[in-house]
Amino acid sequence: MTLSFFDCNTSIGCLAVPQPGSFFTASDLIREMNYFGIDRTLVYHTLAREYSPSEGNARLMEELVGYERFVPCWVIMPHNTGEFPPPDELIRLMARQGVKAVRIFPSPACHNWKLGDWIAGSMFTALAEHCIPLFVSFDQISWEQVFALGKSYPNMPLIVTEVRYEEARNFYPMLEKIQNLHIDLSWTILHFGLEDAVGRFGPSRFLFGSRMPIFSAGPAISYLTYADIDDESKELIAGKNLHHLLDWNVDTMIADKPK
């Protein structure tokens, strides 16, 4: 069967440490998506990770103009320093610009802020109110923090990306207890790992992600196409689950909120 891939984990922009085949522009990413057979992708900008979230998000929107196969994902932070607008204003901006998901990089090595309610509570509350998916890389957050976030904000889809293959002992109980938790499969490439995880939790909790341009998309694709799971599960993981998560009602939300 031919799967329709909607990639939950790509970026554009220059990298401090590129890999031999890394690329940097939106047109490069389109070329690679064509080669790998990926229809659409949720994409953020590397400058938002490695330089400045607000400047990186602005660059993302500039560089995505004219492309229909990208869904922008902003990198966000709490608003306390004035670097970001207050949560309600942020979400109105996102809605106007078609931004359907957000990412955070709170680790000390990246944006260096804590996840506590006294810092980020209003931001997470706003995301949860509109069921906006929050993506966070496994190297940015502990499992204890994932548990706390997932429990505190059950209406906020929480997607942990780049979960390494050694982590099943930690994320299995988490998937059991946190129903809004999802796992990106870009680094979760364990022998019979997908078959086992889907057998226990069903296919709706897992998302296809390539991590291009740092990783090749090839392993993430073949991990799914060669998996011993049914075709319907493959379709969900390849793209339908992500479509569903990004389907928060932007128009209604804009109409409801004062400008």
């Binding site: 031999p20 490439i189 364990l190 019979f192 090749s216 073949s222 011993d228």
Partner: protein, 281 residues
Amino acid sequence: MVQNKDDRFYNEPILRRARKGLPIKELVIDAHGHLGAWMQFYIPQYDAASIVKVMDRCGVKAIAISGMLSIGPDYKAGNRAVAQAADAFPGRFIGYVTPNPNYPAKEVEHELDFWLTSHNWMRGIKLHPSYHEYPITGPRYQIAFEKAREYHVPILSHTWGQGDENSLCGPALFADIAEAYPDVTIILGHAGGLLPGYRTAIEVALDHPNLYLETCGSFQAMGLLEYLVENLGSERILFGSDCCFLAQTAEIGRVVFAKLTTEEKKNILGLNAAKLFNYPA
């Protein structure tokens, strides 16, 4: 329409089958596999039958394996398990005998002699300097290279060119060994690990024709296969998966989706390994 450089690879026949999840038809030999459980993480299935099942899905004819027990606490039990798997599935498993340099030299020598002379499918030696916490350049490893020379079998060593492991099995350390044993084929597992390791592994391999690079690793660097082939050619690169550590279903994607010609993929997927392991092509 003007073609870009990727277009000529889009319809490459091996890739066409992989896109559909169909088993590869060409000879595929996985040069880096394991058998058994591992302490640090959950592996849902780790017996020989589960490995054969996944090999059949991918179209992998044979896999060269070492025992997890051999890399861990009981090297002799691991070697026995590997031989038993090879007996249970004839032609599907090629066994690496794994010595542990921390045990008495006479005992290690006997273990190597026993398996490399008594079992038809034990056709290689596996070294893991990181888990055995012993440098590849140490004198206790010399017996392994001597036995590889005596029995004409390849050696696969774990290599990692970053962090603490670099001093135990960084690819640069293999230059002197390759020179001391020019008639022994040495496979650098993981091709050095990450980008600094890849670079060094290529440099060392360019200077020493008896060094081969093997591709597996959980960090699936974009363009790695193309980078290796561009710098070293396809004749000294081997597909490996690290199965049942990692998923063979994913690791094969590194090769089949690489922007390489069919001939280059055939070399990497199986033809090179068939020569090293004397496996019928």
